[in-house]
Amino acid sequence: MITFMNNSDSEEEPCNERTSLMSAESPPVPSYQDGLQASAAGEAQAHRKRRAGSSRSPNNIADGEMSDSGVPVRESVLENEEEELTLKYGAKHVIMLFVPVTLCMIVVVATIKSVRFYTEKNGQLIYTPFSEDTPSVGQRLLNSVLNTIIMISVIIVMTVFLVLLYKYRCYKFIHGWLILSSLMLLFLFTYIYLGEVLKTYNVAMDYPTLFLIIWNFGAVGMICIHWKGPLQLQQAYLIMISALMALVFIKYLPEWSAWVILGAISIYDLMAVLCPKGPLRMLVETAQERNEPIFPALIYSSAMMWTVGMAKPDTAARGMRQQTRDAAEDERENRRSPSHMDSQISERRSPVPTRPVTSLEELEEEERGVKLGLGDFIFYSVLVGKAAATASGDWNTTLACFVAILIGLCLTLLLLAVFKKALPALPISITFGLVFYFSTDNLVRPFMDTLASHQLYI
């Protein structure tokens, strides 16, 4: 259908990386564009090319293979042809996003179903201090709402803090924060996960082997995510990290709180991205002004993981956006800024160094990938994982939520193609997912169970 990312065809392209779902290119693109961008973009591009070699883009390898969608798109080409290409290749990008989201969900559901650890209640995070073990329904509801309020306010505070840091160019701080968070995620959580999986399958493993495995996994992960690495490995690591984070959430968030939090996060996402004073929108605008790509580290890109760094210090910061120090905060960060999708052109820069600056047209040929924030991955997986963990109808509910989320993603991409600006990726999918979860669990399950017991087919 008609949902795709437009090709970038304008000069402004390179600087328009927005974390939100955006089809950056076309001239009719709204608010953030102005004429000055064009020249600035040209320069930025030149800059990028020169620095491509020394930049921190991890995916230089990937870039070469990656980019091309094949057909050169020239500025001068009729808009129709561009749109048609958009349609054709946009569909490809939708599929390219489906695969990682599906993989993440599969990992989460498989773990939930097999490893009992993640469904046992062993305490709660400090961000959700109110317990849900209360006898009355009203009290429980109240506690979950309070938990949600606390969680959301923590998220808001962290996001605003991040935006402020970014605004005042405290890149080193962000840098360090992210490194610490990803360290913790890659080593500690993986260790716990591996321990639990081994326990479940009753496999013995000695400490030296364990150390070796975890060390290698973590070290390669750090390099891939924060520096350079093959695109697919990077994508795989991001998926694994999202899955691990989602599992932590599923384990430590009490039941009702989890659902209320999911709902609240979608609303927050909607507001943060679309309201003029929303932190995420300010983030996007700041990055626009500076002609810098926004937080590549916190974003999953189907085409190119890393946008090329501009100036050295900037690239460093750019690289960082992976995680914040605290795991939970991490999520926050991840969710906040990357809760949107982005269609980007940054790919261009990579094979670039030798190209003449003037050939902007050629640059536009390279395919842009769709970008989806890691927070989105995490929350989708939390929804599906919770459905798998707690629904008594088991697989039907999980499947229904899965389909609902994917359809929401499709619709969001469609809106992206229509509106061509940053969009939040959470609201539609989460809404569909929640609706389908509750309705399938309560309505469809008894129906299907009765049908199955009589072996009737509809």
Binding site: K88, N396, L399, V403, V444, F447
Partner: protein
């Protein structure tokens, strides 16, 4: 798949309301409600198939308008096939997946006196339904395209017949055999509608180029 899911949702909503509003101890009533639920669900599925057709039609018009040579990159027949497959997969998945999960665990089939072939027949029935949905998709869309309402009615009637035949379960002869026959008929019909013929088939089977 999404459309099928929504139709399932709505039909189970109706059934649920009906059940809650009625007396749970009244066996024949429950059975009657179940039958009503099944039929209603079938009709709703076909209605949603029609809605999906409308949506795809609009999409194709959009694609055609956008393309430079006036044809869309994907034809309505392909869309019909995909729609049918989507419906079939969703329907099959929902029918089978809990069974499969249970089949992994310890247990005895039919320990309370039910048929021991439960799993097997469920598998076959699901398979035939998936195929049927695919063929019905093609037939349905073809009927909508060419304004042949009798084709659409035939699809609806076939669907009702297949669902109805499952009421014979566990007398599997009554449900599986007619369903497979219907499937063969639908397959042949869909094949002919898609441009196949006996000649094509022979060439294919004999591997002629």
């Amino acid at each position: 798949a999404f459309f099928w899911l929504v139709s399932l949702l709505l039909s189970s909503l109706i059934w649920f309301i009906a059940v809650k509003a009625s007396d749970p101890r009244d066996e024949p009533l429950q059975k009657g409600l179940l039958i009503f639920g099944v039929m209603f669900s079938v009709l709703l599925q076909e209605a949603f198939r029609f809605l999906y057709y409308k949506l795809l039609r609009k999409a194709i018009e959009g694609l055609v308008a956008l393309s430079e040579d006036g044809c869309s990159p994907i034809s309505i027949q392909q869309m019909a096939y995909v729609a049918g497959v989507g419906f079939g997969l969703m329907s099959g998945a929902f029918s089978m997946i809990n069974l499969l999960a249970d089949a992994l665990g310890p247990g005895t089939v039919g320990i309370h006196g039910d048929s021991q072939l439960y799993f097997l027949t469920s598998a076959f029935m699901t398979m035939v339904l998936i195929f049927l949905h695919t063929f019905w998709g093609i037939l349905f869309f073809h009927g909508c395209e060419h304004q042949r309402w009798w084709e659409i009615m035939a699809v609806v009637v076939m669907h009702l017949a297949v669902s109805g035949s499952t009421f014979c379960n566990p007398l599997y002869v009554g449900s599986l055999v007619p369903s497979y026959l219907l499937m063969a008929a639908a397959a042949a019909w869909a094949y002919l509608l898609s441009g196949g013929s006996a000649h094509n088939l022979r060439r294919f089977l004999l591997c002629k180029s």
